[in-house]
């Protein structure tokens, strides 16, 4: 029940794919990666979450971290599972990120 993290940068978009479970023990590695990727000044952060089975508030705090570091950054969440959509809705994140079915970029 760990978290597999992979990333790639395409043009001005940083892509991160998360497979597994994102909790407070696995979030620091994601935050570190986001920090590193944002140093290049991308316009978009695309989170591929199709195979993310669990996300605690630690995942939300990574998104806040990204937006506070780069306020103009557009955050896309690709294919999140329904439970994670629910978390985004309850916490008011749903209107602040772009939840999409396909990678936009």
């Amino acid at each position: 029940m760990a978290l597999d993290i992979s990333s790639t940068t395409l043009g001005n978009s940083a892509h991160i794919t998360l497979n597994g479970q994102l909790d407070s023990s696995t979030a620091p590695a994601v935050r570190e990666l986001v920090d590193k990727l944002l140093a290049n000044g991308p316009s978009n952060l695309v989170l591929h979450l199709e195979n993310l089975d669990f996300m605690a508030s630690a995942g939300l705090r990574v998104i806040i971290f990204a937006k506070q570091k780069s306020p103009d950054l557009k955050v896309y969440v690709v294919k999140p599972q329904e439970t994670i959509v629910e978390t985004l809705r309850k916490t008011g994140f749903y209107q602040s990120v772009y939840v999409v079915d396909e990678s936009p970029l």
Binding site: M1, D23, S24, S25, F54, A58, L60, K67
Partner: protein
């Protein structure tokens, strides 16, 4: 009644969720209720480890048990760290949740999710231990 004990650090979160998932399946909860309960326990366990143990420089265990009654599944999460009462904790207001993410305070989101995810979240002291109690009603049972 099932019981398990883990060292009170963040590595305990995954096995705690496994424990909760197994109990929730035994209680016949649906997929969403199982996820919600795992989320609630995970958020509280995170706060207990972070605020109750690590920030206070303390070490201790997290003990968890599950009790299935005809009407409910009850999970207890017990610790011996600095008391951490989720009901006394400030959570984001609806206005806070409307704010752009770049203006957000990161605190309280976990408690907000935990409270919303279960039917009851109770907190009590037993001797020198603190116990968080999560109650979920088993629909269609009892």
């Amino acid at each position: 009644m099932e019981t398990a004990t883990f060292p009170g650090d963040l590595d305990a979160l995954a096995p705690i969720r496994q424990f909760v998932e197994k109990a929730a399946k035994q209680a016949g909860l649906d997929k969403k209720a199982i996820y919600d309960l795992c989320l609630a326990v995970d958020e509280i366990a995170t706060n207990v480890v972070t605020h109750g143990y690590e920030e206070a420089g303390l070490k201790g265990d997290l003990q968890i048990d599950a009790e299935i009654t005809p009407e409910t599944l009850v999970i207890h999460l017990q610790d011996s760290g600095v008391p951490y009462d989720p009901s006394s904790h400030l959570v984001p207001t609806p206005e806070d949740l409307d704010r752009p993410l770049e203006d957000r305070n990161v605190g309280g989101l976990g408690i907000l999710l935990a409270r919303a995810a279960v039917d009851e979240l109770n907190y009590k002291h037993i001797d020198s231990f603190h116990v968080h109690e999560f109650v979920v009603r088993r629909k269609g049972h009892g």
